[in-house]
């Protein structure tokens, strides 16, 4: 049995999305900038994809910029706000300690350029304190960027409240909705979001396509210069197949959200309940305000990678911390930010489900995991010390 339970890292393409993409390779393969009919066929698909996505998040088509993915969208949103802010002498940016590296590293670059960055602490469950945000906003604050839902621990932030606060204070609000889009409702108007990033491959769309929503009237800075694509705000021949596939996948995900997500959540809760029955296993993140598919636990006394490898040998694909940070030696900054000690952070296990996950698969995980944990603990000096102390 092969169980793909790493949907926060990336998802399997939906058949609907793939079917939508294929004609872009073989028939409507034109460049949408070309005036002839093969190009214009592509242009029509591009317009339709833009409208589909705009409609699904409560935006206008002209507010949608297609990017190569979530990272690019995050980079561009932050650079846009930073440059706008600087023009008005505002060089302070607020974010949180649990953002994705696409946000954190962009902020670090800006710090080198003389911007000041405040990274808010979060509660133990990973939720930002609104009063902290309120206190942090200054007259020279150019941007608040806070993710909609966290990629590691699944915690969902009070986005509408944050949006309302930012609006009240007259500060731009960007949210990295890469993990939320397609899984949680997004409405940029109701939630007072000025800029938003999403990435297709997190909701069964293709890799290589993302969206940056920017509210009309905010002058956008291009980070890739060249042709006049995307109204001059993002140069490069449009990745038509991926854009069309993204729109199809996003529509499918949003249309079926109210039906699918409660089901995913039930599986998630069954899995969490089962895991918490094990000795010295703790849940990371909030029990309720949590992405429907996210399970993240720390299994004390063992290290995550070895746990993953043993799970993998049983056909279970999961993750320990963010997929993007694997290969690094440091434990996840998110787990440290919610107060875990290094040792416990190293023992984290993220199992991320999707609408493709079955109950049988959850049962299989719950069956295979305990003996693996036992085996690893049996060879762990850390576990032995823990048990001696107790």
């Amino acid at each position: 049995m092969i169980i793909y339970a790493d949907n926060a890292a990336t998802t399997k393409m939906s058949q609907t999305a793939l079917d939508a993409m294929l004609p872009c390779f073989t028939e409507a393969y034109g460049n949408p900038s070309s005036p002839h009919h093969i190009g214009q066929e592509a242009a029509k698909l591009l317009i339709a994809a833009r409208k589909t996505i705009a409609d699904l998040i409560g935006a206008e088509p002209s507010e949608i910029i297609f990017t190569s993915g979530g990272s690019e969208a995050d980079n561009q949103a932050i650079v846009t706000a930073a440059i706008l802010g600087a023009k008005k002498g505002k060089k302070h940016i607020i974010s949180t300690k649990i953002e994705h590296h696409a946000v954190l590293h962009t902020l670090k670059k800006l710090e080198k350029d003389g911007y000041e960055v405040t990274l808010l602490d979060v509660h133990e469950n990973g939720i930002v304190r609104l009063e902290d945000l309120d206190a942090a906003i200054r007259p020279d604050t150019a941007l608040v960027t806070i993710m909609y839902a966290n990629n590691e621990i699944g915690t969902i932030q009070p986005i509408a409240e944050i949006g309302a606060l930012c609006k009240e204070k007259g500060v731009f609000f960007h949210t990295d909705a890469v993990q939320a889009a397609g899984h949680l409702p997004v409405n940029v108007k109701e939630q007072n979001i000025d800029m938003l990033s999403l990435s297709a491959h997190k909701f069964h769309g293709p890799k290589g396509a993302g969206v940056l929503f920017v509210r009309r009237g905010i002058p956008i800075t291009a980070i890739i210069e060249g042709g006049a694509q995307e109204r001059g705000k993002r140069a490069g021949t449009e990745n038509m197949p991926a854009i069309v596939g993204m729109a199809a996948a996003f529509k499918e995900a949003c249309d079926n959200m109210s039906e699918n997500m409660p089901k995913v959540q039930l599986l998630r809760d069954k899995l969490i309940d089962g895991l918490l029955k094990l000795d010295e296993v703790i849940l990371n993140g909030d029990r309720e305000k949590r992405l429907p598919g996210n399970v993240n636990v720390s299994v004390k006394g063992i290290e995550g990678e070895s746990l993953l490898m043993m799970l993998d040998m049983q056909g279970i694909c999961a993750s320990s911390g963010s997929a993007c940070t694997s290969g690094s030696l440091d434990p996840s900054h998110v787990l440290l930010a919610i107060g875990l000690i290094h040792e416990v952070a190293h023992g984290s296990l993220r199992i991320s489900l999707s609408e493709y996950t079955t109950e049988e698969e959850v049962d299989y995980i719950l069956e295979k995991l305990p003996p693996i944990v036992e085996r690893l603990r049996n060879m762990s000096p850390v576990w032995k010390k823990m048990k001696e102390v107790k």
Partner: protein, 142 residues
Amino acid sequence: MLYSEKVMDHFSNPRNVGEIENADGVGEVGNAKCGDIMKIYLKIDDGVITDAKFNTFGCGAAIATSSMATEMIKGKTIDEALKLTNKAVAEALDGLPPVKMHCSVLAEEGVRTAMLDYYTKRGETMPEEYRPKCDGDCSECG
């Protein structure tokens, strides 16, 4: 990551897992902060390592190198065992990904720390060149 088959073999069927009661030398290296701890137990009779066991908290490479290192020193004389290098362990495993080379260093240091314990217990001094150098800060060998 792409571990070699040898690494996968030693990870999934680690040799010499366990502890040795009244071991002649015990060494613990690494720290939980970095995500790797190895504890090596040696039984030494007449200058020959007759048994070696380990307990490891760590990634796949940490477990595989512990397993391989203990395999490699079993039956060896003290002198031979002291000459075990991290490179030899890594090579015996058909290589390690660059980011995991520090695990082989940990294994080398683990053996040497257990040896140091053996020398110390016997009131002897360990040859200077083989003394463990690891200060437990794994960022150095990362």
